[in-house]
């Protein structure tokens, strides 16, 4: 269970190798990499700036990992999220989950991403030819998260 919030880029290979080789009981590692797209809502994006809430961010991500661990039988998880100014094609986020079996790793990884998108205090601002603008939250993200609600 690891959480990192940083301006620096991350090394996917090293992170996944460390996760994968932590135990020979691990059969599956599912990972998600998010990157900056050069277009959003039809407009060209030249830079993306990520603001966050230091202190709360780490706590929210740790709570999301704990919740994933309580729901599925996973061996390890990792969330790395960048903040600051990024260019198109730069990596924003890495989420990886290791498990003995693939089904739990897939579910836990998607769960973490869906919760991160709606619960972790990050905000994106885009630079477009018309100036800067804050990215609007998507209803589809709320819907994605609500799929996981337990009665």
């Amino acid at each position: 269970m690891t959480v990192q919030v940083q301006t620096a880029d991350f090394d996917v290979a090293a992170e996944l190798a460390a996760m994968r080789t932590a135990s020979a009981d691990i059969g599956a590692v599912v990972s998600f990499i998010g990157q900056v797209r050069d277009i959003n809502d039809g407009d060209a994006v030249s830079t993306l700036t990520l603001e966050h809430y230091p202190g709360m961010t780490e706590r929210a991500l740790e709570q999301i990992e704990q919740e994933a661990k309580s729901r599925w039988n996973i061996s390890g998880s990792l969330i790395i999220h960048r903040v600051g100014m990024l260019q198109p094609l730069e990596q924003i986020v890495l989420v990886a989950v290791a498990s003995a079996h693939r089904g739990e790793a897939f579910k836990a990884c998607e769960f973490i991403m869906d919760y991160l998108k709606t619960q972790a205090p990050f905000w994106k601002k885009e630079s477009t030819p018309d100036g800067e603008r804050w990215v609007e939250a998507k209803i589809s993200d709320d819907e994605a998260q609500s799929r996981w609600k337990q009665s």
């Binding site: 990520l50 809430y53 709360m56 986020v93 998108k117 972790a120 205090p121 905000w123 939250a137």
Partner: protein
């Protein structure tokens, strides 16, 4: 009571504050009454806190709803719906 308030993203840009320490009036006891109090500061504040915009709140790094009580020494944060990932 004394609390600290933090503002983020477009709310921070609108109010031109990132943080303030304030002494709350006696009738401000939860997030909802704090929002009403802030809305009384002027047009920019009213636009943000009159309930028409979705403004999320956290107390001491936990997301909370509008009925959550505020206690002396709390760190309260207001921000738009999150857009990371």
């Amino acid at each position: 009571m004394n609390i600290k308030i933090l503002y983020f993203a477009r709310i921070k840009e609108s109010v031109n504050y990132s943080t303030e320490d304030i002494v709350l009036p006696a009738d401000v006891s939860n997030i909802n009454t704090l929002k009403n109090y802030l809305a009384g500061r002027g047009e920019v504040w009213a636009d943000l806190f009159n309930g028409k915009q979705t403004i999320r709140a956290a107390i001491n790094h936990e997301l909370v709803d509008d009925m959550m009580a505020i206690n002396d020494g709390d760190e309260v944060a207001f921000f738009p719906p999150v857009t990371g990932g």
